[in-house]
Amino acid sequence: MTQAIDGAIDGLSVTRAGPLALLQDAGRFGVRRLGVTQGGPVDLHGWAWANHLAGNAWGTPALEVTFGGLELVAERDLVLAVAGADLSATLDGEPLAGWRSLSVKAGQRLAFGAPVNGLRAYLAVAGGFAAQPVLGSVACVVREGLGGHDGQGHRLAAGDCLQVTPRRACATREAPGEAPFDYRRPAELALLPGAQISEFSGASLFLAFNAPWRVDDRADRMGVRLTGPRLDCRMASMISEGIGLGAVQVPPDGQPIALLNDRQTIGGYPRLGALTPLACSRLAQCLPGQEVWLKAVSTDRALEAYRRFRAGFAR
């Protein structure tokens, strides 16, 4: 059962759940040593923008809507923002503009249809969704039964009512022109080379960074499998060790898997390296069959890009 949260009131009720809608804050940190995964938005970029446009601080819980299909009814007047993928969102049947904040009246119906551009949309409400943190976070991890709107790691279901912490309307915010972009184009994924890179054959290393990869349909919040040339590694497996966000592991079948927010905390396959946080975000918007390219970057470049991205958002 949902526990009462101080100052929180009914905000949006779910009339149709769609395949996968989850409440996510920035992630669950400090407990990975207990085998508890990170969780949080797989497209950090889209999630951060949705919160920013709604006037929320970094870390405020927002909804991650995968594939669309979600339908909500406003229980009261709200200010909200949708960023990330274009999932054919509508408000009372009219197309809803993404990447800007907008006011919604009580009783209005917000619906997500099918993916047009990207895979995951983020919905933030001004003031933020409210839920009881579990192990310090409301990040929803279904496999672990932790977090989310009910604390039990459940995806949204028809009949759920989402709590919000209301805040007086803020000035309308709009993303600058460059923020919404075309997720359908082949993605260039920045990768920081890792310690086992020298264990791969020269030909495999060449192919890893010079051949197109396809996003497989075995892709979820744990990881995304890429199909393409077979990568040969002298190491078959290793003693299990901690795995960071974006680690690109290569099991004996030679097909890499980029590990995302719900990955297991330890693992024993050799790795090409790690995608940068922004490359993880980009990959999370790719549909199965889409083409992606791996591109090695230096730590300095990656750090600069990440710090520039974060500097735009309130902490």
Binding site: G35, I239, G242, I243, G273, T276
Partner: protein, 242 residues
């Protein structure tokens, strides 16, 4: 540091924008753990609120820091400095042994007989062999509170099941290779089940959340069905779903 670690170790390996992998050893050994727990403590002190997560595991420690406040280069310097004066955790070396009660029975441990067959032992001998050693927690992973412990007596070494079960009951005590573990919650799993513990291994409302932590010493203590039930254990037999 020569002599304390294998040649070429410890080593710092890049692990993304916000992490370093500290590699201390190259083989699994219970004697690694006092070094790893000491390193965990030293990192907590040195990094303070710049620290995001620590993942100790068998031979390594993954250090995850806040890349907005610390560059990988700065983090590396802190780690190099800290490794130079690292001493093993003396307390951990003779930490008190935690006892985990286990009801060893074919109804909840369907692979007891498989282990007996592989080892050429009776069921009683398998139980005696599994309970006479204390084990060290090498890592937590796979699921919250799932502790990889070792090392199991070589005679009980058994490969994982060819087809993992879709649902292993919570509390199931299991062996795979030379490791042993208890499943904190219902999950899929391919380990050999030998019994069940009534202990609650992961509790979101308990201080520290996980009953077992990396570096802990653990001994399994055999109990009978009545005691298992009295301690709140679920006596329902395994339902096979494979």
């Amino acid at each position: 540091m020569s002599g304390r670690f294998p040649q070429g170790l410890p080593r710092l390996e890049p692990a993304g924008l916000d992490g370093w992998m500290v590699r201390l050893f190259d083989v699994i050994d219970e004697a690694n753990m006092p070094w790893l727990t000491a390193l965990v403590r030293e990192c907590e002190t040195a990094f303070g609120d710049h620290l995001v997560d620590l993942v100790p595991s068998y031979t390594t420690l993954l250090v995850v820091f806040d890349p907005l406040r610390l560059s990988p280069g700065e983090a590396r310097r802190w780690l190099v400095d800290l490794l130079q004066r690292l001493q093993p955790d003396e307390e951990a070396a003779d930490a008190p042994v935690q006892e985990l009660p286990v009801w060893y029975d074919a109804s909840v441990g369907p692979e007891l007989s498989r282990l007996a067959e592989l080892a050429g032992m009776s069921l009683e001998e398998v139980v005696a062999c599994h309970t006479e050693h204390s084990y060290r927690v090498f890592a937590l992973g796979f699921a919250p509170g799932f502790a990889f412990m070792g090392s199991v007596d070589a005679r009980l070494e058994a490969p994982r099941l060819e087809t993992p079960r879709r649902r292993v009951p919570a509390g199931s005590v299991a062996v795979a290779g030379r490791q042993t573990a208890a499943y904190p919650a219902v999950t899929p799993g391919g380990w050999n089940l030998v019994g069940r513990t009534p202990a609650v291994l992961f509790d979101r409302d308990r201080e520290g959340f996980s009953l077992l932590q990396v570096g802990d010493r653990v001994r399994f203590v055999p109990i009978d069905r009545a005691e298992f039930a009295r301690l709140g254990g679920d006596t329902r037999p395994m339902e096979e779903d494979r």
